[in-house]
């Protein structure tokens, strides 16, 4: 009889009817898991630099535990060596000594407090480790492809055995801390994956050679960890189903499937199916990859092993994993970034509140932050990693006010529902007939940008539920402000687009929004003025139509406002679509059929074009003086304050929504 930790009955919930396969139990080892949902172990950099658990991390985990509604909730992987060679993130939790058990117990207790199953992960970061020391360890001394990572040195045979023992000792501490499931991380370039891969393992001792030899360290770890965990604690492993390292002679997909079989033989109770390494040259999880793209890998894994298969990777909505479970191609839906964006995502699915889910937009800012030693943050969830901070929690307003928000874009909408939830009377005005602001147009850019609209859809629902009143097709004027005389005005009008000198009456100079919305006529040879994200988006939009596009922008590099974990995708797309970018430049003159580009150091050259698209932006000063003259409390947010990105708009809106 399998062990049951907490009783859950989902039968009365709408989500269990809509997605019956996600809310049915599954046995993992000797443990019965009530549903098919797992918050996958995710680094958050929230712990202290000595590896001790902080209040911030406990609160972060508690909210994710609430989200999985009885399912699996894994804390971030712990590093296990005192030297810190296995530490990949400055705020990574440690487990190389008994002194860490007390803090780890706080996490296990927080997860149990939400009646969820607490998962513990052992993670030596190997090739992507040594974040605080000079060099890392690995099966062989293979140079780093990416300079951001530290040099690697080959472990001696004795060091390998010591590393295996470190995993076993850490597992013992995890059990002592009260965790219910044990997981070994062998993915994305971490140590176990380094041993398994032909790319990084060139050893000739028993830990190298053919695929069996390369898996020997993994086998010893699984067996050792199983022994200390006993029969009631399932032991699983995360393994690459495809390394995507063919360009550097990594494992073949067949070899990867062999690693799955070997892990199963060694006693693993489940496998979490992943793909790609951090140094793979192929995209895996960015917005340009379609949802559900990788489910075939889970299916293939299931064809090769009998133990349960789990998978995350571009599965942001419940429909696809539910179907995959029904079809026998998946056992457990892992969730990572979607629960960074909305910790209660699966709970909302269960309760039939899918419209209240704040969906991840797959921007990878969370990852970019981790690699730059910064605490976790989310592009569109301002509360992320601030769950412990009272200042980030909406509280009832001390004085209820009538608030006029000008602009129904992401900044205004975020502010609107937060303020309304706090008890204010909120009116949102927009000259357009619908919500979304500039995002309506920006989301028409190619390569998955339509997913950005999920942010506005969420905000619209929240506004409606909080009683926000909308006034569409209503441009705010000084007369309207004087008539309404609200207590507070929030200007979320979006940016203004500067006019190129002498271009006022020209129909060959058009605005980025008009181009994306199809209002403006664009010729075949186009110059886009502005090399930030809006410029790149419209350049790709036009290049996809077969137009010859050149970007001219003042920033030193194109897309400097896009986080590095995503920017590389855009750079490849610009190249693939034949878009030339002149950075550190400006438009000096606008002539007939050409512009004169001037570089930062004074060189001038002509670029032929029949249309110039303006994507440069400036802060919007309109209405500011009028509001101030009336003595009304004023806030300016989003691109109206300083043109930036969607994230800044949402975060601005949230913070001002809390402050009013």
């Amino acid at each position: 009889m399998a062990k049951v930790l907490f009783e859950w009955d989902y039968s009365s919930y709408p989500g269990a009817k809509a997605y019956p396969n996600l809310f049915k139990p599954i046995q993992m080892g000797n443990l019965m898991v009530p549903n098919r949902i797992k918050y996958a172990a995710t680094e958050d950099n929230l712990n202290d630099h000595n590896g001790f658990i902080t209040d911030a991390d406990v609160a972060y985990m508690r909210s994710r535990a609430e989200g999985v509604v009885g399912g699996l909730c894994f804390m971030q992987g712990v590093y296990m060596d005192e030297a810190g060679k296995g530490q990949g993130y400055v705020g990574q939790a440690a487990c190389w000594d008994d002194k860490y058990v007390e803090g780890l117990k706080r996490i296990a207790d927080a997860i149990h407090g939400e009646k969820a199953i607490a998962g513990f992960q052992l993670m030596d970061c190997g090739r992507v480790g040594a974040v605080e020391v000079e060099s890392g360890h690995g099966p062989s001394t293979v140079p780093q492809r990416l300079r951001i990572f530290k040099p690697m040195y080959e472990m001696t045979n004795a060091e390998v055995k010591e590393m295996v023992q470190q995993h076993v000792d850490a597992a013992k501490r995890g059990v002592e801390a009260g965790f219910d499931v044990m997981e070994i991380s062998g993915i994305v370039g971490y140590l176990i994956s380094n041993f398994v891969s032909s790319y990084t393992n060139r050893r000739t001792d028993e830990y190298g050679g053919d695929i069996r030899g390369r898996c020997q360290a993994m086998v010893e770890i699984i067996q050792g960890v199983k022994e200390v965990c006993g029969p009631d604690i399932p032991v699983g492993i995360r393994l690459c189903s495809e390394e995507l390292l063919n360009d550097v002679k990594g494992n073949t997909p067949e070899e990867s499937m062999e690693t799955y079989k070997i892990a199963e033989e060694a006693g693993a109770d489940y496998i979490s199916c992943t793909l790609g390494w951090q140094e793979s040259i192929f995209p895996v999880i960015s917005r340009d990859i379609p949802q559900g793209n990788w489910l075939y890998l889970a299916k293939r894994a299931k064809e090769n092993v009998k133990i349960p298969i789990q998978m995350a990777y571009r599965l942001f909505t419940p429909d696809k994993p539910d179907k995959a479970v029904a079809d026998g191609g998946l056992d457990i839906w892992e969730i990572c970034r979607s629960m960074i964006a909305d910790p209660l995502m699966p709970k909302k699915v269960l309760e039939g509140r899918e419209d209240e889910i704040r969906h991840c937009v797959a921007c990878n800012l969370c990852l970019a932050r981790l690699f730059r030693d910064a605490p976790m943050t989310c592009y569109i969830n301002p509360r992320c990693a601030h769950e412990h901070d009272e200042n980030f929690t909406p509280k009832p307003a001390e004085e209820e006010k009538e608030i006029m928000i000008v602009g129904a874009g992401p900044a205004g909408m975020e502010c609107a529902y937060v303020a309304a939830q706090r008890g204010h009377e909120v009116h949102v005005y927009d000259k357009r007939g619908e919500v979304g602001g500039t995002l309506l147009d920006a989301s028409r850019a190619p390569y998955g940008d339509e997913e950005l609209m999920t942010c506005v859809n969420y905000q619209k629902t929240m506004c409606e539920k909080a009683g926000v009143q909308f006034h569409f097709n209503n441009e705010v004027t000084d007369e309207l402000i004087a008539d309404e005389m609200p207590d507070t005005v929030v200007l979320a009008t979006g940016p203004v687009y500067p006019v190129i000198e002498d271009s006022e009456d020209r129909d060959d100079v058009v605005n980025v929004l008009d181009v994306l919305s199809g209002k403006a006529q664009v010729g075949e040879t186009v110059v886009v003025w502005g090399n930030r994200k809006p410029g790149i988006g419209v350049a790709l939009f036009l290049a996809k139509q077969g137009k010859k596009v050149t970007i001219v922008g003042k920033e030193k590099s194109a897309g400097f406002d896009i986080n590095p974990s995503f920017k590389w995708r855009y750079m490849i797309y610009l190249k693939q679509n034949g878009v030339m970018a002149y950075n550190d430049c400006d438009i000096e003159e606008l002539n007939d059929g050409e512009i004169i580009v001037k570089t930062y150091d004074g060189y001038r050259f002509p670029v032929k074009c029949d249309t110039v698209v303006v994507s440069e932006r400036e802060a919007n000063e309109s209405l500011k003086k009028i509001v101030q003259a009336e003595g009304i409390e004023l806030f300016v947010i989003g691109d109206a304050l300083v043109p930036r990105n969607l994230s800044s708009a949402v975060h601005d809106g949230y913070r001002i929504g809390l402050r009013i």
Partner: protein
């Protein structure tokens, strides 16, 4: 104001050449500093070779993200040869990679090199220039070899500073 293309290109070209000539001069200025700091017991050639090794090691790291085994060994070798020739071109030389007669063999030919001219200004022996160039390319290959698990060698067959009219380097795979 219309663009005067000739003027713009001339200005740009002149500045590029100035920047290129500074590369060699900066190297030799640092060589003088290192010789003085190291004292009379250290041979200038040893200092220059050590510098070539350290620079080559670092330049090799830049090669790793740009090389791709998926394109096949022949293309891989040609791309590597072009990247090595590209170092000379950046410095103001004229160089190209050519397929050799045998498979797995690439020749890098440089017919114009700024290093001997700069070396003369600083009183550097010509043989040192040749040896330093060869060492630089050899150490670039070190990380490339380990990373891709291959065994490539590079050998200098001719050198301008030796009065042979051109540099000729053979890049080949050692079985």
């Amino acid at each position: 104001m219309p663009v005067n293309a000739e003027k713009e290109i001339t200005k740009l070209w002149r500045n590029l050449h100035n920047a290129q000539s500074e590369i060699c001069k900066t190297f030799y200025r640092w060589r003088e500093v290192a010789i003085e700091v190291a004292g009379p017991d250290v041979k200038p050639l040893d200092i220059a070779l050590k510098a070539a090794e350290m620079m080559g090691k670092d330049m090799g790291k830049n090669f790793l993200p740009r090389l791709n085994w998926l394109k096949g060994e022949e293309t891989f070798m040609m791309n590597l040869g072009r990247a090595l020739a590209g170092i000379w071109v950046t410095e103001g030389g004229t160089a190209m990679a050519e397929k050799g007669e045998n498979p797995g063999e690439i020749f890098i030919r440089c017919t114009r090199c700024p290093w001997p001219t700069a070396a003369k200004e600083f009183g550097v022996p010509m043989e040192e220039v040749a040896l330093t160039r060869e060492r630089l390319f050899q150490t670039i290959l070190e990380d490339v070899n380990v990373f891709f698990n291959i065994n490539l060698k590079i050998e200098m067959l001719k050198a301008i500073p030796r009065g042979e009219g051109e540099y000729l380097l053979k890049l080949y795979k050692e079985e």
